[in-house]
Every structure is written in C-alpha cells, then in structure tokens.
C-alpha cells in the first residue's frame, strides 16, 4: 500500500495505518537522527518525537508534497531543536561514536582492507561531526539518504541553488576536516 492510502485510512480513523507508516520509515528517520545527533539516546528520542509530531499533524496533511519529504522536514527540525536543548547532556556524557563504527558490517575482502576502511570511516565520522548544522544536514540528506537537490530544497524550505551551494561547500569543508584529522593522527 502506498503512503497516500495509509494516510487516507488514517484520516478515516484507522490509527493502525499510522503504525504502518512508522514501520516503513522508522529506520530511515532513525539513521538521519543518528547522523545529526551522534548520541544514540538523543537519536532515539528525536526519532520518536518526529513520529509523534507527524501523528499530530497528519490529519491536516495535504499531498501537495510527498509524505516522506514532509516527514523528513519534521525530523530535521526536531533534531535541530534537540541539539539546542540537550547539548548540555552531550557535554557530560561521552558520545558513542565508537558504536557507529563497531556496528559497521565489513564487506572488505581482507582484514587489512577492513581495518583501512574502518579507519577511513572514523575519519569521516569525525569530520562530519565538525561540520556546522547547515552543512551537515544537506550532506546527510544527499549522501546518506540519497535525496535529490529538489527534495532537499523542499525539506529545508530553501531554493535548489542554495542546496547546490551548501552541498558544494559542505564537501569542501569535509575534505578539509578529513585532511586535518588525518594529519593530527
């Protein structure tokens, strides 16, 4: 069943239709929140909050845009709110960045190349963490979620030109950060 059908059923009073939408998008939204917030608990909270807010607004949702871009917009804004509210907690408790890498299922042909890939991923993760929110969100939506420039523009409510410019700068910053991190090691 497609998203529009689920939404129509939900509007008729079938709450379980919303459960189907949660099941369909929970992994993608959770992944987005993990890369935006780094901390596992914060990501879980933000992802849950995203769906709760979507539930509250779904009756008024009109399919002028796709459901998933609407949902992503809620997720991005929720993550940004979480970052601002709970940055104090992340100062006290260490982030579980190592968990990100340890859970990475290596498909490398040999232990040496697996180790090299793991090292590169650690550098990428660290470089991503240093990006500002503005650049991190476009890179995550484009590179990790595979969204087009137009979809990202719709999610962030900016022009396609702005998305192009931010992605270009984000890549340049990432590359610069990765070089610095590698030199420091």
């Amino acid at each position: 069943m497609d998203d529009i059908s689920f939404i129509e059923n939900f509007k008729k009073g079938d709450t379980s239709a919303f459960g189907s939408l949660v099941e369909k998008y929970q992994d993608r939204i959770y992944t987005l929140c993990r890369y935006m917030l780094e901390n596992q608990d914060d990501a879980n909270d933000a992802a849950q909050d995203t769906f709760v807010k979507a539930f509250q607004g779904l009756k008024a949702f009109t399919p002028t845009s796709s459901f998933y871009t609407w949902l992503y917009r809620i997720a991005v804004n929720t993550c940004l709110d979480h970052k601002r509210k709970f940055s104090f907690r992340s100062l006290l408790f260490s982030t579980d960045n190592e968990t990100h890498i340890d859970s990475f299922p290596s498909q490398a042909p040999s232990p040496e190349s697996a180790y090299a890939t793991k090292q590169s991923m650690q550098v990428l993760q660290a470089a991503l963490k240093r990006l500002s929110e503005k650049y991190r969100v476009v890179i995550v939506l484009n590179e990790l979620e595979g969204l087009s420039y137009e979809e990202i523009a719709e999610i962030l409510d900016v022009s396609v030109g702005t998305v192009k410019s931010r992605i270009s700068r984000a890549r340049a910053e990432l590359h610069k950060n990765m070089k610095k991190i590698t030199e420091q090691k």
Binding site: Y30, F51, V52, Q56, T117, M121
Partner: protein, 149 residues
C-alpha cells in the same frame, strides 16, 4: 570554461544534477585540466566512503513506543493558551524594563539633589588647590571664569 567556474560545477556533476550543456562544457574542461580532475576524484572518493557508511535500524520496540505515545495523548482542541502565554511573556518583559527605568530615575533624584550641585562644582574648582602663580594658565582660566560670572 575556466577552473574557477568548473570547480563550482563539480559537486552538481557527481550528483547528476547538472544540465546537459554544463556537463559538456565541464567534461571538455576536465579532459584538459589535471587539477580539476584531481578535485573531482577526491569528491568521488568521499562519495564512495559515504556509500559504505552504516545505515542503522531503529530499536526493536521503536514502533511500539511511538504507538504507545500517540495513543496516550490527550485530545488536542483549539486553545488560545499558547497565544496568551506569548503576550504575557512580552508584557512581563515590558514591565521589567519600565520598572528598571523608573527605579533608576528615582535613585538619581535621591542621591543627586540640585542644591548639591554647587558643592560638586566647588570641589572641582581650581581654588581648592594651592594659589596659582600670576602668569600661569590656571590663573588665566580663573580670570576668564570670574568675568563670565
């Protein structure tokens, strides 16, 4: 196409977001420019890393937790309370500023009444110091101020 323009197109190029005309121009430039070609290769490597980045699964009870939260929510009707709160916040802010200005004014009046002004002026007068030599600048200043009074 110059390098300064080509570099701006590289990001859109690897995302297949460039128009056909720009693609042709860029590829023509890349065929002759090692520097831009290296830049493109770096971007492709970065993209390759992202393709290997882990995708996460939501925790096993995620859906159940969300449904529990949405099913336990109170019914939301229209309420003016949030609007009222905003106006109340603004009102408190304006009152605080006004109180600050008024109390500041009262303090100034309490500690600097007008009849003390002459005492302040007198304390600053050069006459409180040792007598000035007749041909000094200070004596000339005193002479000028005496004439004005």
């Amino acid at each position: 196409m110059r390098c300064s323009r080509a570099v701006k197109y590289l990001s859109s190029y690897i995302d297949s977001e460039l128009g056909a005309k720009e693609v042709a121009l860029l590829e023509s430039h890349l065929a002759q420019c090692d520097r831009c070609e290296r830049e493109l290769e770096q971007m492709r490597q970065l993209q390759g890393l992202f393709r290997q980045a882990p995708k996460f699964s939501a925790p096993p009870v995620f859906r159940a937790k969300v449904m529990e939260r949405v099913n336990n929510q109170p019914a939301r009707g229209f309420s003016l309370f949030p609007v009222f709160i905003r106006f109340a916040e603004a009102g408190v802010f304006v009152l605080a500023i006004t109180a600050g200005i008024m109390s500041g004014g009262m303090l100034i009046n309490a500690f600097a009444p007008h009849h003390k002004g002459d005492q302040v002026i007198a304390s600053l007068s050069l006459e409180t110091f040792d007598a000035l030599p007749p041909d000094s600048l200070g004596r000339a200043y005193l002479a000028m101020t005496e004439v004005r009074r």
